[in-house]
């Protein structure tokens, strides 16, 4: 094996020379602080197939675009991983920024790119040729422009970057809606009249469902009904719509319709300075703001190349695991709600969650929007009385209550007959569709980033990667209990090991210096792989800020999961994916 010619040897140290496998085709990235390989778009599918089949990169975690507006260039960045563990591989395609921006779709190599490619098309206008259903996903069909492009401006646009100059030293207060009336600040398609507008997106949506018009066994054509579940439906955990085609009670087609809660988190993130993004990440998966903080802090710390204070690392782990415990407890409660066991299990779960949130409030000041992590550490130390409460919970109350939950539900015959044998997804399909988190592990793939590619201090703890092998609803329920037990194990070790010392390796500054480069930080959030891809150009604001949200990627195989099942099971099948709309729609 030849040594790779690369400016960043860490990236390829444990990897291999892709350029040797594809001479004159693939070249190593040469920009400082950038990693990976540049692949020409003509050879993209070929290289990707080789990566999957010859080198074992079976899980494609992210696909996202970057708009290098000043260089008149667009880039599509891919991060691939092995489910057996180890560091990932990054490769990219660069194309001129001229409409149409075209890149071949990798949907035949990794079907999991489906929604992520649609997202890149929607927000950046990168057309993936060969994608069978390249519709907009977060914005509506007929929307003018691609919002993440650097020359696109949002309503109430003030300036490209925060802080805005109008705030200080001459902050003459005005309401933004007075200065920027909505109509002056919106782009409409040509000849657009809101009075006469009929959404054409629905026709396209139902058109894409019509692909499943099969005749029944007797050769008779039967009527199929298109049924919209949501956006306001109690079982969809928020504003999620599933356009279902049903034959009797059997689902024969399903398209998720999302974006009702879309706020272009990534554009906001690119306007913000680095530290200003921290409270915005809280609002992604609002059940697990500590985990979101963690992922973002890791990405920026990687980019800044700074260490984390040791005590802070332990505090981070404690908070992240507490948030996992409360997430899984509430998941179990809500799953039971979905199944019709209204409120009792959910409220039992909420009681424990409440106590955990009290801890978050005591250390960070807020129950849900914690904003607790800073680059290099955390914002403030855990006071002794709070530490005592964490100890009481972790060593006594939570094990007892998890056990109680187990006794309460696990053997319940009604629950078992409702859940057992309802197939969610098998391991192979799950990996193909980039599903991560408990759903993947319940399908028999022991892939947990805390073990596969350890971050923070997770390599110091003894714990098992929870795994179940059937991949049915019941396993998806059980794995949450298993993970709570493992989290409690980690917590008990972390509390015993936590050292004294400073809680931040950096001085608290309100504007951090981030060198030019890119970084992808990922953690095992309670819902799956949560990744933050950040590109810096050395300025106080990130050039590109992308969130790889587990909820969003995990619903990619929703149609495959639900085809052929009964409509009553859809509620449970969707429920076990454990999606949160704040993160799904971003």
């Amino acid at each position: 094996m030849t040594t790779p010619v690369s400016p960043s040897p860490t990236a390829q140290a444990s990897s291999f020379d892709l350029a040797a496998r594809f001479p004159n085709i693939v070249s190593a990235e040469t920009r400082p602080n950038f990693k990976g390989w540049i692949v020409p778009k003509e050879n993209l599918v070929e290289v990707a197939t080789a990566l999957r089949d010859e080198f074992g990169y079976d899980l494609l975690a992210t696909v996202t675009g970057v708009d290098y507006f000043p260089e008149n260039k667009m880039e599509v960045v891919y991060h691939a991983y092995k489910t057996t563990g180890g560091p990932g591989l990054e490769f990219r395609v660069q194309v001129p920024r001229e409409d149409p921006v075209e890149v071949p779709s990798l949907i035949d190599v990794w079907p999991g790119v489906d929604f992520q490619e649609r997202e890149a098309w929607d927000l950046l206008g990168i057309r993936f040729t060969g994608h069978p259903d390249l519709r907009r996903i977060l914005m509506w069909e007929g929307y003018e422009g691609h919002p993440l492009r650097k020359d696109w401006k949002e309503p109430f646009y003030e300036e490209d970057f925060k802080p805005f100059k109008s705030r200080w030293p001459d902050g003459q207060f005005h309401l933004s809606e007075e200065k920027n009336p909505l109509q002056d600040n919106l782009k409409f398609p040509q000849n657009f009249d809101p009075e006469k507008w009929i959404p054409e997106g629905d026709a396209l949506l139902y058109g894409s469902l019509a692909r499943y018009s099969l005749k029944n066994e007797d050769g008779l054509e039967t009527d199929r009904i298109v049924l919209n579940m949501g956006p306001q439906h109690p079982s969809t955990h928020g504003v999620f719509r599933a356009a279902l085609t049903v034959e009797g009670e059997t689902i024969v087609g399903l398209k998720p319709v999302i974006g009702y809660l879309h706020r272009n988190h990534e554009k906001i993130g690119e306007r913000n300075t680095y530290i200003q993004n921290m409270p915005f990440t809280d609002r992604l998966d609002y059940f697990n703001s500590m985990a979101n903080n963690f992922g973002y802090a890791l990405a920026v710390e990687k980019l800044m190349n700074i260490p984390v204070a040791e005590r802070a690392d332990y505090i981070r782990v404690i908070m992240a695991e507490l948030t996992r415990v409360q997430n899984h407890l509430v998941f179990i409660g809500n799953l039971l709600n979905d199944l019709g066991a209204m409120y009792t299990p959910a409220l039992y779960a909420f009681e424990e969650r409440e106590l955990i949130l009290d801890i978050f409030e005591a250390v960070s000041g807020a129950r849900m929007m914690c904003n607790y992590f800073r680059f290099g550490g955390v914002v403030r130390d855990v006071p002794d009385d709070v530490m005592q409460k964490i100890k009481d919970l972790v060593f006594e109350r939570l094990p007892a209550k998890t056990d109680e939950m187990d006794r309460f539900l696990t053997e319940n015959e009604v629950l078992v007959s409702r859940l057992q044998g309802v197939h969610v997804i098998d391991g192979e399909t799950a990996v193909k569709y980039s599903v991560t988190g408990p759903v993947l592990r319940a399908a028999g793939v022991p892939y947990d980033i805390r073990r596969a590619d350890p971050y923070s201090v997770y390599d110091r703890f003894e714990f098992d990667v929870a795994m179940r092998s059937h991949g049915d609803l019941y396993d998806n329920y059980l794995i949450r209990l298993d993970e709570i037990w493992q989290s409690l194990r980690i917590l008990q070790q972390a509390i015993k090991q936590i050292p004294q010392g400073p809680i931040n390796s950096q001085k608290p500054v309100y504007q951090v210096r981030v060198p030019a480069g890119e970084a992808y930080g990922r953690i095992e959030s309670p819902k799956g792989e949560l990744g933050f891809y950040v590109v810096s150009n050395g300025k106080p604001n990130p050039w590109r800020y992308h969130v790889r949200a587990p909820s969003f990627v995990n619903i990619t195989p929703l149609e495959q999961i639900c085809l052929g099942t009964k409509i009553a099971d859809f509620v449970a099948l969707f429920g076990v994916l454990d999606v949160v709309m704040g993160e799904l729609d971003r």
Binding site: Q172, P279, F280, N412, Y510
Partner: protein, 212 residues
């Protein structure tokens, strides 16, 4: 036996049902009140809580931890002669670090010298946009802006807070965040002492110079 799991589960709810009464009676026997008292609320949000868990807001209120944060306010010190001294120097760090950019500060200049006066002329916080992140209070070098504990902010119109609404005395700060106040106060005193010592040293040096 079929139905064993259900019975097991029901035993859990059965136990939970009685827990409230057992707790109530044990509190009664000890002659303490479990409801509408601070002690009771504290116990109900501790790790030992059993039985009914609800805090009956607004008759009962959760005890906020010191770090709890809601829309910020500005601190002024009360001087012995009754005048108010604002801590804010209108340096603008809070306005710059604010993620939703909801802080607006007017810094005024001395008409004679043209230099900035270390006191804001106007200070607005758009409380409807504020996301209660606490950055302003965290990065303020003068402890002039502090996160409040008042969370009952509902109103019929837009809540744009001006200086009149924002300014609150240091004694209020002390009442909601005693530990933070003590820490900051000690820091401020140490800083002032250092400054005074430096000034004294400088004047002593000057005096020494003048003598020679």
């Amino acid at each position: 036996m079929y139905g064993r799991g259900i019975l097991k589960g029901l035993s859990v709810t059965w136990k939970r049902f009685w827990d409230t009464y057992i707790e109530d009676i044990s509190w009664l026997l000890r002659g303490k009140k479990r409801y509408y008292t601070e002690e009771g609320i504290k116990h109900r949000s501790s790790a030992d809580t059993k039985g009914i868990f609800t805090i009956q807001y607004p008759e009962e209120r959760l005890i906020l931890p010191e770090e709890a944060r809601y829309v910020p306010f500005l601190v002024y010190d009360e001087k012995p002669d009754g005048t108010k001294e604002q801590r804010c120097t209108s340096c603008g760090i809070c306005a710059k670090v604010c993620p939703p950019q909801c802080i607006w500060i007017v810094r005024s200049n001395d008409p004679n010298t043209g230099r900035p006066i270390p006191e804001p002329t106007e200070f607005y916080i758009d409380a409807d946009i504020c996301m209660n992140c606490g950055f302003c209070a965290e990065y303020c070098p003068f402890d002039a802006i502090i996160m409040d504990h008042d969370f009952e902010l509902a109103s019929y119109g837009r809540s744009v807070y001006n200086m009149e609404k924002l300014l609150k005395p240091a004694s209020y700060y002390k009442s909601i965040r005693p530990e933070n106040y003590e820490r900051n106060d000690a820091e401020r005193k140490a800083k002032e002492a250092a400054k005074a010592a430096k000034a004294a040293g400088a004047s002593a040096a000057q005096a020494a110079q003048a003598n020679t």
